[in-house]
């Protein structure tokens, strides 16, 4: 059953897209790279671990004050930069009247730790220096006072407010991939219901972080040794973290039309679930239930997924996708790496971009699971399944 929309629900347009990633920045660069099937990964710097490093970016272009840049760690710079691109793309950058009432829903993790400080403490501890108060003393003396602000989850939103002046409301959702699905879901619901006219949503991830690699290594989630696309990792599962910032400006059709803004696409529906992944097949079942709620009736179409490449979730997602063989699949994970809190906005951004370009970008998958699709897409399903919990789906459509 498709959940009925409440009567009078407003149509919601995506009017701004900002992406910065291992492929570069902006829509042209991404469209060209996707069509050229370019992948930028680095298997040397953290060998045997693999990452998709951020392409060179001149942050000054979106974060003009060096002082602001210094106050941020990489994830915040990536996000603040991508948010600026999205505002530019929507034509609202610097428009104080709109920015002062723009709502923000950000999906965020936390910031980088000071690896040097951590390692010095761990080494001292291993050498037997564990006197009471040792940890306190090192932290008090060695941590930069402002590092905390570069680590706090809600300070990505805080920096976007400071740098770009987005200061209607500001909410930060946490919780890995699911946070990015819910950010889109809540912003959409609020605009549809008239609780908000215009919103900035998105996330940022710095994939080049040893502290995060350690965290994911606890669960053996990191891709090592040899790079392959996400559909070709059955015998070497894992994700390669990617550095990506992806933001969208969403607004009601009325609001967009009143200011003469053009849509890339409309966001029709976002649904999410938290399956208890205790039985094999739980994710397949969850995605199938979400598919029904999404209300896709056609038996062929287009689908962009953030499939991670870790098991068992990727196999379970593939089982779901095989039940919809008419849908041409594209996995962002192959090209961009896994981007946790940025997974879903990236999928939405690429879906809206594809619709606006009248084409789905080509497959990039030697296994043949992704197939060519030549018809211009009018609908793209975006799928996000978290590496350990959280599932979601969205329907992005062409504006009629």
């Amino acid at each position: 059953m498709t959940e009925p929309k409440s009567p009078g629900a407003k149509e919601v347009w995506i009017t701004g897209i900002g992406i910065v990633s291992s492929l570069g920045e902006g829509l042209e660069a991404h469209w060209d790279a996707l069509n050229a099937k370019r992948i930028n990964f680095d298997d040397k710097r953290f060998a045997p671990y693999i990452v998709h490093p951020l392409a060179p970016v001149v942050f000054d272009a979106q974060i003009p004050k060096k002082g602001d840049q210094r106050q941020m760690e990489a994830w915040q710079r990536i996000g603040t930069y991508a948010a600026g691109l999205a505002l530019d793309s929507a034509g609202v950058k610097g428009n104080q009247e709109i920015l002062s009432r723009m709502d923000m829903v950000i999906a965020a993790g936390g910031g980088e730790r000071d690896i040097a400080v951590d390692m010095a403490i761990l080494n001292a501890d291993a050498q037997g220096n564990s006197s009471p108060g040792f940890l306190n003393e090192r932290l008090m003396n060695d941590l930069r006072p402002t590092l905390f602000l570069a680590q706090l989850s809600n300070l990505l939103a805080g920096n976007i407010a400071i740098v770009h002046g987005v200061c209607g409301t500001s909410r930060t959702f946490m919780g890995e991939e699911a946070a990015s699905i819910d950010a889109a879901r809540i912003a959409l619901a609020r605009i549809e219901a008239g609780q908000s006219d215009i919103a900035l949503i998105g996330g940022a991830h710095n994939g080049e972080r040893p502290d995060l690699m350690i965290l994911y290594e606890f669960g053996d989630f990191n891709l090592t040794d040899k790079f392959s696309g996400v559909w070709a990792r059955e015998n070497n599962s894992g994700f390669a973290m990617g550095s990506v910032g992806a933001f969208l400006v969403m607004e009601s059709r009325e609001h967009a039309e009143a200011r003469g803004a053009k849509p890339y696409a409309k966001l029709t529906r976002v649904v999410a679930d938290l399956a208890q992944r205790k039985q094999p097949g739980a994710v397949t079942k969850s995605l199938e239930a979400l598919w029904t709620k999404l209300g896709v009736s056609a038996d062929s179409g287009n689908l962009i997924t953030g499939a991670t490449g870790v098991e068992p979730v990727t196999a379970e997602e593939r089982a779901f996708l095989r039940q919809h063989p008419g849908f041409a699949v594209r996995a962002t994970g192959t090209t961009f790496g896994h981007t946790l809190e940025t997974q879903f906005p990236l999928g939405l951004a690429l879906a809206a971009l594809s619709i606006s370009r009248g084409a789905l970008f080509p497959p990039n998958d030697p296994t043949g699971f992704e197939v060519e699709k030549s018809e211009p897409p009018t609908q793209i399903v975006v799928v996000g399944a978290g590496h350990w919990q959280g599932e979601g789906m969205a329907l992005v459509e062409a504006v009629k």
Partner: protein, 425 residues
């Protein structure tokens, strides 16, 4: 019986269950008794060594134990306890089957020092770098730590335990998080998406690094002795906040659904508002406009005039800046009445429960409405002449209270306010 919709035609949102844990104790009864008696939950930290720290006191919750200890596990347990109490009072749903979504205010999560040190000790070398740690981390030995230190882990656990519906949302708006969790619940019910929402706010992060981080930003009181006198909201000699742990859980329901099932109606969330400050990462805009706007948006959302508010449950952190700004902005909104509305800060007794504060203080506000008694602001012996609030000084005060504004302001320009009433307005 009032109409189930407010003057804007939206479903009225009521509270039908509340649960609370603070450094004062477990449950509403114990907390309310101690809070109105002016007791402090602040003491010298004994959970870990405090040598070398500038601030050595906190509102830790030592009567709840979790094994193995981590701040995230404690946050989870406190949230669970508060939720159990709220659900019991509300009587909604059935065991493990809450008929609505979960909105959880929770501190950002990361691997903590005991676990980091444990992993470091398995490297087996005298000198090593992060690559050695990385190599020592895999293979399943520490698989539990992956789950434990995922941001979504606490919400995932609560969703499973209490059977909330859909994707649970974990959120952070810093010190305003608790208020934001309630706001998300109110919005979902007003949209008609849900008849009920579980709004939980929890904080269990009194650990060395968290104390150091706030200390390095000069946010914490250093008046360590005696610890219970450290938190001095609105006093001239206030010098910072005191970190504290706690949790608050509220069951929100549409008035219609609550009436239909004969649920206890503990109060109404009449309005919520938020407005972002883009001035600075930790400081408020000197003109106070974002906070003023936040309070005004909240009044507008409730469809109320400032004259209808008869108590302010202040953010009142006891930092020099916050309390001054809170007075200036309140005066801008309430005019001359700012000096006559009774104002109190629960943080004088329970400390600053950070992510949980908005939830904990909403519950204390609702208890104030229920008991018609305003908890005191203790340690108020040296009033700051620049803050001529009618502070409920040192002793609880009986008063006619029909509508409370509860304020929360946080790092990152986060401002959120709630208006809670006894009856639908």
């Amino acid at each position: 019986m009032a109409a189930p919709r407010d003057k804007f035609g939206r479903p009225i949102v009521v509270v039908t269950g509340m649960g609370i844990v603070t450094s004062l104790g477990t449950g509403k009864k114990d907390n309310w008794a101690k809070l109105t008696a002016g007791e402090s939950g602040i003491k010298t930290v004994t959970r870990f060594p405090v040598e070398g720290l500038k601030s050595t006191m906190a509102g830790t919750i030592d009567f709840v134990t979790v094994e193995p200890f981590s701040s995230t596990s404690l946050s989870e347990r406190l949230a669970e306890m508060a939720t159990e109490e709220a659900l019991q009072q509300s009587g909604i749903g059935s065991k493990g089957n809450f008929p609505g979504p979960l909105f959880l205010a929770v501190a950002p999560v990361e691997t903590e020092w005991p676990q980091r040190l444990e992993v470091g000790r398995t490297v087996g070398k005298k000198e090593f770098d992060y690559f050695d740690v990385l190599r020592a981390s895999g293979g399943g030995k520490f698989a539990e730590y992956h789950h434990r230190f995922m941001f979504g882990s606490v919400a995932g656990h609560l969703a499973e335990t209490f059977g909330t519906k859909g994707s649970p949302i974990s959120l952070s708006t810093a010190c305003a998080s608790g208020a934001t969790s309630i706001q998300l619940g109110v919005e979902a019910i007003r949209r008609g998406e849900a008849d009920a929402a579980l709004c939980v706010a929890t904080e269990g992060t009194v650990n060395p690094e968290a104390m150091v981080r706030f200390s390095l930003l000069s946010a914490l009181s250093t008046q360590n002795d005696p610890p219970q006198a450290a938190s001095k909201p609105f006093s001239k000699n206030r010098d910072g906040f005191v970190m504290a742990e706690g949790a608050g859980a509220l069951v929100l329901e549409s008035y219609e659904a609550a009436m239909a099932r004969g649920a206890p109606i503990l109060g109404v969330v009449a309005g919520c508002g938020e407005l972002t400050d883009s001035f600075h990462r930790t400081r408020s805009s000197p003109d106070g406009k974002p906070i003023i706007g936040c309070m005004r948006k909240t009044l507008a959302d409730a469809g109320m005039a400032p004259e209808q508010i008869d108590h302010i449950n202040a953010h009142g952190t006891a930092t020099p800046e916050n309390d001054k700004m809170e007075y200036l902005t309140t005066a801008a909104v309430f005019g001359e009445r700012a000096n006559h509305i009774p104002v109190s800060s629960n943080k004088s007794m329970v400390g600053h429960t950070i992510s949980a504060a908005g939830g904990v203080e909403a519950i204390f506000s609702l208890l104030t409405l229920e008991h018609q008694r305003i908890p005191p602001t203790i340690n108020y012996d040296m009033p700051d002449p620049a803050i001529p609030f009618d502070v409920v000084a040192n002793k609880a005060r009986d008063a006619r209270v029909t509508a409370v504004m509860s304020n929360s302001f946080g790092f990152g320009g986060q401002n959120a306010s709630l208006i809670l009433t006894r009856e639908p307005v």
